[in-house]
Amino acid sequence: MGEHGHHTILGFDRYAFNFWVLMIFTAIEVVAVALTFSMKGTVSMDVVVFILVSVGIVKGVGISAIFMHLQGDPDSRVLTATALFPVFFIVVMILFIGLTHPGAADTLPDWCRPGFYS
């Protein structure tokens, strides 16, 4: 796919650019977590979780869009559709299996009960 034209981002070669983005973000991730644990108690875990999640999403989009040719190729649109197809089933699985551990909810919320309306 030696296409011309759009294989550079901000002037750099898109793969090299993506590579360095990934390296830098991984370093951020590791350093953030290491700092949090070594300075116990100063940074709350939610900040770390937020960093991890956002960095994870950026790296994920980077890899799939550029490295896996899901963007900028003639066939990338239909392959993106194929790649995103299982997302519905993954969301159902995470909701139905991941977030319903036994202690999670042991009674039906009131608005689900017929008594609530009569």
Binding site: P102, L108, R113, P114
Partner: protein
């Protein structure tokens, strides 16, 4: 005595009625079409048959109005049935605060009931004998043994009109007590507590066999007990 509680029979009759209607419609439609549109001599083509040529996608044969009707009408029936089925959920799943709690512990291949007497000194804990009283001294729950086909099995006697809350757990694998006459069952999961709320009515007086209805190994079928409702 009859298997299944009144809630079950109310819903069951409703479902039977609508199932009969749907089945009649389908059967009449099926037999009428399969007999009326029979090929007389096996070769003749009916007036509105389609000419099939291999490799040629045939003419369209659909009618939007009909297809919409047999999408919407069953949907309405389903919504109606869901509404009816939604009714009993309330009393099935709501904890009645002053219900008397009965502990049900399932083990590999025997049941272990516990009347959880309100104040301990009332409960004579001699062997299996375990009794609980309500405020005005009447016995509301009593455990003893009974002989089922040559083996001694636990007998749980509960008082009619007394609202009960079964607190169920298991010591090893999943089991499930099936109260045949009341038409209810719930799994006893190890490491978890599941609950069943029921108030036996007066006309459910009598004793019925309690069977294990979640596969639990070798003697799954002989893991029985007897539940007796007394006036």
């Amino acid at each position: 005595m009859e298997a299944g509680g009144d809630v079950f029979h109310m819903l069951f009759d409703e479902w039977n009625f609508w199932s009969a209607i749907v089945m009649i419609i389908v059967s009449v439609w099926l037999f009428h079409h399969s007999l009326k549109y029979r090929a007389k001599d096996g070769k003749s083509m009916g007036e509105s048959c389609d000419e099939f040529i291999p490799g040629v996608f045939p003419k369209e044969n659909d009618n939007l109005k009909m297809e919409l009707t047999w999408t919407i009408v069953p949907f309405i029936l389903i919504v109606y049935l869901t509404y009816i089925a939604w009714g009993p959920l309330d009393e099935m799943w709501s904890a009645d605060p002053d219900a008397h709690e009965i502990g049900v512990t399932a083990n590999q291949w025997f049941w272990d009931f516990d009347c959880m007497a309100d104040d301990p000194e009332d409960a004579e804990t001699i062997g299996q004998q375990n009794v609980a009283y309500n405020d005005d001294g009447e016995v509301i729950c009593e455990i003893s043994t009974i002989d089922v086909e040559g083996e001694t099995k636990p007998l749980l006697r509960v008082k009619a009109e007394q609202s009960l809350a079964f607190i169920m757990t298991s010591n090893d694998v999943t089991h499930a007590p099936f109260f045949l006459d009341w038409g209810i069952k719930e799994d006893t999961q190890p490491g978890m507590e599941t609950r069943l709320y029921y108030t036996p009515s007066v006309d459910e007086v009598g004793s019925s066999l309690l069977m294990c209805t979640e596969y639990c190994g070798k003697q799954h079928s002989t893991m029985t007990a007897v539940v007796e409702v007394f006036a």
